[in-house]
């Protein structure tokens, strides 16, 4: 039961020196209630493919795909009004920089209530109550006090909790998290990942986690897609990926983890490509 299916997605950016293909024929699907991790380094196109789904790419990007469907509905053929009803309600997204994602001029309460009023049509009072409920659900301490705080008065971890509260406000069926813990400390990272996993299970949401961190993948994913330079290198369930990585690039990524260092030197991805070329 695929919730989101993408086949042969291509994203090309028009630049001064001609087209640049950021995503080159990617297939992704995610089932209901599944946690999919998309792993890759900067420039692998991992964020761009999900921004294409959300319709958040700038005008210079051209998006083509053989298929892009959500729950059987064709996303590319939708009118923009229809798409707006889908994005932000059934599919929501959180980003890497929680503090930058929030507007510094408004209280966090105002910002989450705005989402609730516009997307769900709640009254002011109902929005306030629901916001408090969501703050409790994502584990913000003293929600009654924090709801009137401005983003700068909260820590990075707390801001990310606010973003998560906003993202789950409409009971989405798919949450896309783009590097949600990269800017955070390890102990806070652990808390946020635990929160995402708990919410994912409680709400039965599908979760797409975009990350470059193999540790995060190991702790969360059901299935993993490895991307490199806009192409899919490997797709496997999490256990097979770590147990027996098939693609040399995946093996390179795993062996570049400092905890897997055996000798004095860390193997790097370019070492692997040299080995491959020498064969």
């Amino acid at each position: 039961m695929a919730l989101l299916t993408i086949r042969n997605l291509k994203v090309t950016f028009a630049t001064a020196t001609g087209g640049f293909t950021a995503v080159d024929g990617i297939d992704v699907h995610v089932d209901r209630g599944e946690v999919l991790a998309i792993v890759g380094e900067s420039g692998s196109g991992k964020s761009v493919s999900m921004l294409a789904v959300m319709g958040l790419l700038p005008d210079t990007a051209s998006v083509t795909a053989d298929e892009m469907t959500y729950d059987g509905r064709d996303i590319l053929a939708m009118s923009s009004a229809e798409r707006r009803r889908l994005i932000g309600r059934e599919i929501t997204m959180i980003f890497q920089e929680p503090i930058a994602s929030l507007n510094p001029s408004f209280t966090v309460g105002f910002q989450i209530e705005e989402v609730l009023r516009l997307n769900l049509g709640l009254s002011r009072r109902a929005a306030r109550d629901r916001a408090l409920e969501l703050f409790r659900a994502v584990g913000i301490p003293e929600p009654e006090v924090k709801i009137d705080a401005y983003p700068h008065q909260m820590s990075g971890g707390q801001c990310q909790r606010v973003m998560i509260a906003m993202a789950i406000a409409s009971n989405p069926r798919l949450l896309i998290a783009d590097e949600p813990t990269t800017a955070l400390d390890v102990t806070i990272q652990k808390q946020i990942l635990d929160l995402l996993m708990t919410l994912q299970e409680d709400y039965g949401m599908a979760l797409i986690l975009i990350t470059h961190d193999m540790g995060v993948v190991a702790e969360t994913a059901d299935r993993v897609v490895v991307q490199y330079k806009g192409r899919k290198m490997e797709e496997a369930d999490v256990l097979s990926l770590f147990e027996a990585p098939q693609h040399p690039y995946t093996r390179a990524l795993l062996s570049a983890l400092p905890e897997h260092a055996t000798g004095d030197r860390l193997p790097t991805v370019s070492d692997y490509f040299q080995q491959e070329a020498a064969r």
Binding site: G33, E41, S42, G156, D185, V186, T187, I188, Q189, K190, E201, H212, D213, M214, G215, V216, A218, E219, D222, D237, V238, L239, F242, E243, A252, L253, L254, A256, L257, P258, E259, H260, A261, D264, R265, L266, P267, T268, V269, S270
Partner: protein, 286 residues
């Protein structure tokens, strides 16, 4: 390297740092004690890793060791000599001994300065090396850190994050320092680039007998690079010891919580997690 009897390259005795928070209409002025008496010593060719979370004071300590800030109390010794930058500004000789590499290579390089000028500037300021030799040394350093001589006339924006961090490392090495303070030098980099930069740091340490103070919050990186480890929490060194001792048997609860929060990429751990999840799903009505 077995330098247990040699004098430490850097030593700190009861380092205290207070930050003064000025009062306002609503709040009384207060002092925040960011470091509460830290002792450490690092011997030549060794690496001390300072581990902690944001707000723990690890970067404050790094700035003191790099002679950027003066500690409120306590004594800092570089190669056995007491240094007090509040009383006497460090001269070229002292500046040449201690250099720093910052976390964000996008912020630490002047976007209007060509790479060659970035590398030659420390020589211009601190030495009277003639221009031709400055250029020669800068080009040699570029190839040392794995860049090309033709990169000399390029601007920082033309480089990737990993290359920029190489440039920052090259700049820090231009004065032949004995001590390099690295404040989260690989946190902003991709995994495979991180591996390359860590390899580079290890090579340079061997070649120049460098002493590193390496600030990080990433225990897997620390385990790879450190000889000695100091764990800081709320301005206090809660755990200090050799890498083997700290990793084999973390004694302080804070260190234990750091270990518990570090993601595990071990296959057995993943197998257990997948099984737990499957069991939890089987219980739920479809």
């Amino acid at each position: 390297m077995n330098g247990t009897t040699s004098a430490p390259v850097v030593e700190g005795r009861a380092i205290v740092q207070d930050y003064h928070v000025p009062g306002s209409m609503f709040a009384r002025a207060t002092n925040v004690r960011a470091l509460k008496g830290i002792d450490f010593r690092v011997e030549k060719g060794r690496t001390l890793a300072i581990v902690g979370e944001s707000g723990s004071g690890k970067s404050t300590l790094a700035r003191i060791i790099a002679l950027i800030d003066a500690p409120t109390e306590g004594e800092l010794l570089i190669e056995g000599q007491p240094v007090d930058i509040r009383r006497k500004r460090p001269g070229p000789a002292l500046r040449s001994k201690v250099q720093m590499v910052f976390q964000n290579p996008y912020g630490s390089l002047n976007p209007r300065q060509k790479v060659g000028d970035v590398l030659m500037e420390p020589l211009v300021i601190n030495t009277d090396v003639p221009a031709a030799e400055r250029r020669e040394r800068a080009e040699a350093m570029l190839s040392k850190v794995g860049l090309q001589p033709e990169h000399f006339n390029r601007y920082p924006h033309m480089f990737s994050g990993g290359q920029r961090q190489r440039i920052a490392i090259a700049r820090a090495l231009m004065l032949n320092p004995s001590l390099l303070v690295l404040d989260e030098p690989v946190s902003a980099l991709d995994l495979s680039v991180q591996a390359q930069v860590l390899n580079l740091l290890a090579d340079l340490q061997d070649e120049f007998e460098l002493t590193y103070v390496f600030v990080s919050h990433d225990l897997s990186v620390v385990r790879y690079i450190a000889d000695e480890v100091m764990v800081i929490s709320k301005g206090e060194a809660v755990e200090q010891g050799s890498r083997e001792a700290v990793f084999a048997n973390p004694s302080h609860p804070y260190t234990q919580s750091l270990f518990a929060a570090t993601p595990v990429t071990d296959v057995e751990a993943i197998r257990a997690r997948v099984a737990r999840r499957r069991a939890a799903r089987a219980l739920q009505p479809a």
